[in-house]
Symmetry: C2
Amino acid sequence: MTYEDAPEPLRALPSRMLSLLAMYADRLVSEGLAAEDARKWHYAALVALREHGPMSQAELSRRTGVYRSDMVAVVNELEERGHVERAPDPADRRRNVITMTTTGRRHLERLDELISGFQDDLLAPLTGPEREQFSALLARLLAHHSPRNTA
Amino acid sequence: MTYEDAPEPLRALPSRMLSLLAMYADRLVSEGLAAEDARKWHYAALVALREHGPMSQAELSRRTGVYRSDMVAVVNELEERGHVERAPDPADRRRNVITMTTTGRRHLERLDELISGFQDDLLAPLTGPEREQFSALLARLLAHHSPRNTA
DNA sequence: GCGGTTGCGTTAGTGAGACTAACGATGTAA
DNA sequence: TTACATCGTTAGTCTCACTAACGCAACCGC
């Protein structure tokens, strides 16, 4: 927060505005999810599981962008809460197969609603078309800077 | 990095795209500034000093958004490098007066160029009008969510 | 004058996130 | 079989935003 009086040249820097707004958005999401005893990586993992079915932690890691060393904790927490099950993969004994439970699926649906509400809060001052445009611009910038397209 | 295969519903979330892009932008700036032995808060502080002249650490903190506890280190580093001078304020002995040196001013001019280049890198895929629009949308979102306007 | 509050610089510490290194166990390929 | 890659896991680094508390100095009401 703060920055009330940031000098103009600073205030107008896209990189700075981006950091500031991202910080705000992150806080919005994190605090909102905390109310459901969830963290944003929980959401990312659950969405991946819904989209692609059961998978190993390493694959979950690749799909969500969470390091596999950090994914350990995420899966631990989801397992504790009964949202996923972790079982050794009989086909490849290095792997764990992570499967979403029914509880997990219900939980995810709840999170879907919350997350969607946060997007509305975030974009509140924009009109419908402006939101589309903002998202589209973000997507283009990301596409340009992500490893896949930059390489 | 990574996220190559993020499931669609995740990938399209504005809050997520924002975080990702901000991470990229931060890295761009931080690594670029490191080449000049600078950090982004150095830049913020120096810009504030140029705009408003000598001021206390607390005021610097308010103007840049850096906590005054963290501002101590920023001023230390700038002082070590000879970019600012720290002197007790005779008018108020609780305060330090931070003044930019000539060296600091030259350094800041160099940073100006670097920073401006990073903005270009960041916004590279967008056309001129698109950059304007993106900045304008960011500014509006920030204005809406910053404490001054939210209150 | 005095007492209470507020602001200052500083130190220390928290909690989260991104990221690296290395491990033992397992699988794959030369 | 030897060499290499992958997986889950532990541990640890660095940076950031943020809080708490400190001693000190200034200000306000009286």
